[in-house]
Symmetry: C2
Subunit: 226 residues, 2 copies
């Protein structure tokens, strides 16, 4: 069998042959690069196309529409979530939650893609299976395990989303500044009308979110224990 020759030097399709052929995989990768470099808002059908040296309608041919692209990108992110090692179901659930949060944190505002989605793609299903297995070991029925899985992913996802955006969108400046101003605002509220808000002003506007994530996760796990 003769070896494939490169296109002849007089080929006029220099640009077309220069780039790798477009594929669904390449498109998802380009979207992921865009996400990492500039954030979710930079993921545009046109920008993705440009990264691949291709026209926008080509992207539509491969992934249908923007939602289809984000579905695939979400599953791609799910592929980065590691599996927990064997152990008590509580530990496996905690590991999974922290792993998912870490993946989101590693990709800017990736969590926004996950909000309203459930991990049902090829890779997402692995995480779903892991969660359901842990919940079954917790003694939950199939029905309760399904409900609990939604509760679990909903918590991790919405928490991750919350921490990627500034706490009060209307306020300018960086996050720490904005948070401090929220705390200041809350503490100066009339304490007659809002006794608890004023007393909780500081903890409500605390910047460190690791403790808060662990708190919610612990209470969730406790609530799921029989």
């Amino acid at each position: 069998m003769s070896q494939a020759l490169p296109p002849p030097i007089w080929s006029h399709r220099t640009r077309a042959t220069a780039r790798a052929p477009v594929s669904e995989e390449a498109i998802v990768q380009a979207a992921l690069d865009l996400l990492d470099d500039e954030g979710l808002d930079a993921i545009t059908m046109r920008q993705v196309a440009e990264r691949l040296g291709v026209s926008a309608p080509t992207v539509y041919w491969h992934v249908g529409n923007k939602d289809g692209l984000l579905d695939r990108l979400y599953d791609r992110l799910c592929s980065e979530v590691p599996q927990p090692s064997p152990g008590p179901w509580q530990d496996r659930l905690r590991f999974l939650a922290n792993a998912i949060r870490s993946v989101f944190a590693a990709h800017r505002d990736a969590a926004r893609i996950a909000v309203g989605r459930f991990p049902l793609g090829p890779n997402g299903l692995r995480a779903t299976e892991t969660a359901l297995a842990a919940l079954a070991d917790a003694g939950l029925s199939d029905e309760d395990a399904a409900h609990a899985a939604y509760l679990f992913f909903g918590y991790v996802t919405s928490f991750s989303y919350q921490e990627t955006i500034s706490p009060a969108p209307a306020l300018a400046g960086d996050r720490a500044d904005a948070l401090q101003r929220v705390g200041q605002y809350l503490s100066t509220l009339p304490s007659g009308d809002f006794p608890h808000v004023t007393r909780c002003a500081a903890p409500l506007s605390r910047p460190g979110l690791d403790r808060r994530f662990a708190f919610g996760l612990d209470r969730l796990i406790r609530g799921l224990s029989t």
Copy 2:
């Protein structure tokens, strides 16, 4: 004091005097009408302006930008949330959760506005105060109550959001159809790789969400009990 006369009949500013003067309140109301009539995607600075018979930059003058408009609209929605009557803290929390979910359900995909926001506006603070008061009565410290409040609002909000959108965006057809296809898909997965997913296929794709909401709420409250 003489009574104010209407503009003379020869006034050439017929259109300008015909409409009520624009105000922040009127703008928020127009946005709410748009939300109820056509959904969140219809809330556009231009569309809001058109509803008021005004040009788009006028809206900017009053609310700053679109985020500022949505902040105000969110607080307007919070004003529709009723206060619970006195009773055990669990009941008050449950009442508040159901009330918030009902308000979102009454305004199409309003929950999407709430995702990533925390009720800190004049009206939202009433709900926050109610939640914090209940959580304090549960025996939580100020710090834990603050964390739990985020957990609580995050749950109600993200659940409400989830139920306003179709479960698998890529699938066509109405929700019941799409859900059934998801269930079908999950049940035909290789049961060797996904034993729990296949067994939970039916409950994972069950359409009624009231039971699921109650389940999560119960477990949350249980997890917060000392």
